[in-house]
């Protein structure tokens, strides 16, 4: 699974960092960095983080597969 955060929306509430600290981390007080590839054992946590995001900025999903038609 892949994740992307709409950092245009993000206001630095950091709920995702609390709920999935292996995937999301704060860079300084407010900047957000995240692992773009979500390991299988973190998918549930990222799902929870996406649900909890106060500005609904987190998207979890599959990327377009290479041979897609």
């Amino acid at each position: 699974m892949r994740t992307v955060v709409d950092l245009t929306r993000c206001q630095g509430y950091a709920q995702c960092v609390f709920l999935a600290p292996a995937v999301f981390q704060l860079h300084g007080e407010e900047g957000l960095l995240y692992a773009t590839a979500v390991p299988d054992d973190q998918v549930e946590r990222v799902r929870q983080a996406a649900a909890a995001c106060p500005v609904q900025a987190i998207l979890l999903g599959e990327e377009v597969s290479a041979g897609a038609r």
Partner: protein, 399 residues
């Protein structure tokens, strides 16, 4: 009826089981509805959102002139302070609890929370009737916050009394005499502050890994709370750390027992649980209102609200506003783009929100499989007095 009595009607105890029709009336009369005592009430989503992000809106009760304060108010905890002081204290309070300094703290408690939940569930075995509040929704968060902060659970009789007194004085209600209530709260604050500081002092140089220990042993003196700050902060975190979570869990059980189809759906699709908790925070939130005070005359949707006036933001009404929420009175765990006000918004967004989320998810996740044949013994259940922190006092159910 007159819209200038809306806050009085909302806070009237008889409205506790179902304030939502009054919120609809509020939104209809709004966006800005002046109350008889000179204060204002706002219940529409976009206006609330704008005001929660407006740096001219103070959370500090000491800035209020209308209705006037009955007595000298001491410096409140960071929940009711403004930036930059709010930011400084909240950042210090966050150091042992969350990112950037302690990002894994709450996540690491999942196992312990699951364990406590398991024990509580186990104790319900073979019982035909339980009180969701006393048997489950209260014991879980109080046990968790005691362990997190390092407060002995055996002292429950003490801190429960203090908590009740402090929470009662924090309620919102127009025109009532709050002198006695405030005096009791002030005394409870002093006693509870001394008690928590004393617990922390016992850990000075003997760290025990809990938050009181972390606060007192912060090595950087510039980042260490003063004794007064420690007392106020610890009281806030302890009380806010369990009071509202009790309501969240209880409201969850109540909502699902009223809507068997949704209960059934969550039993079949436990993956929806995180979204269901968010929807619960929108649909039946533990915190219904917050007060703010403009630091300058401000214009809201064409109404000028004078500086110093009490403005009550009905968050629970905003979360039921049909403008952003399609079919707002429907509980829908798959609701898209759910930007509710369950934890507020802006700089004061609930400090303990992630912990509450994990506790609610663990609690409901463990309870849902056992509610298959459950029914409410009493509907509506008896509610607590508090209108701002709204929730059932008891929730008897038959298993």
């Amino acid at each position: 009826m007159d819209s200038d009595t809306l806050l009085a009607r909302i806070t009237d105890y008889t409205s506790r089981p179902n304030p939502y029709p009054l919120y609809a009336e509020l939104r209809e009369a709004g966006p800005v509805v002046r109350q008889a005592d000179g204060g204002y009430l706002i219940g529409t989503y976009h206006e609330i959102s704008a005001l929660l992000h407006d740096p001219r809106m103070s959370a500090d009760p000491r800035t209020r002139t209308t209705p006037s304060l009955s007595e000298e108010t001491p410096k409140p905890p960071f929940l009711r302070l403004d930036d930059p002081e709010h930011h400084r204290l909240r950042t210090l309070a966050m150091r042992p609890f969350g990112p950037p300094h302690s990002p894994g703290r709450v996540d690491a408690m999942r196992g312990e929370i699951a364990h406590i939940t398991g024990e509580l569930i186990e104790a319900l075995r073979d019982r035909e009737q339980i009180d969701v509040v006393d048997d489950f929704a209260y014991p879980l968060p109080i046990t968790v916050i005691c362990r997190l902060m390092g407060v002995p659970r055996e002292d429950e009789s003490l801190f429960q009394r203090w908590t009740d007194a402090i929470v009662a004085s924090a309620d919102i209600g127009p025109g009532e005499d709050t002198t006695e209530r405030n005096k009791a709260a002030m005394q409870a604050r002093q006693e509870m502050g001394r008690y928590l500081v004393n617990l922390a002092e016992q850990r000075r140089d003997r760290p025990t890994g809990d938050m009181l220990s972390d606060f007192i042993n912060e090595p950087d003196l510039a980042l260490r709370l003063t004794v007064e700050e420690l007392a106020e902060t610890a009281i806030l975190l302890f009380i806010a750390g369990h009071e509202t979570t009790v309501n969240l869990i209880t409201n969850g059980v109540l909502t699902l027992l009223r809507q068997p189809d949704q209960l059934d759906r969550l039993r079949r699709e436990p993956r929806l649980l995180p979204q269901a908790v968010e929807e619960l925070l929108r649909y039946e939130p533990p915190v219904h209102m917050r007060e703010r005070i403009p630091l300058a005359d401000i214009d809201v949707a064409g109404t000028t609200i004078p500086k110093g006036t009490s403005v009550v933001l009905a968050l629970a009404s905003g979360s039921r506003d049909p403008k952003p929420f399609h079919e707002p009175d429907r509980f829908d765990p798959t609701r898209p783009d759910n930007q509710h006000f369950g934890f507020g918004s802006g700089i004061h967004l609930c400090y303990g929100a992630p912990l509450a989320r994990i506790e609610a998810e663990a609690a409901l996740g463990a309870l849902i499989p056992r509610l298959g044949t459950a029914r409410l013994v009493q509907d509506p259940p008896p509610y607590r007095q508090n209108a701002m922190l709204r929730g059932p006092r008891h929730l008897p159910i038959h298993l």
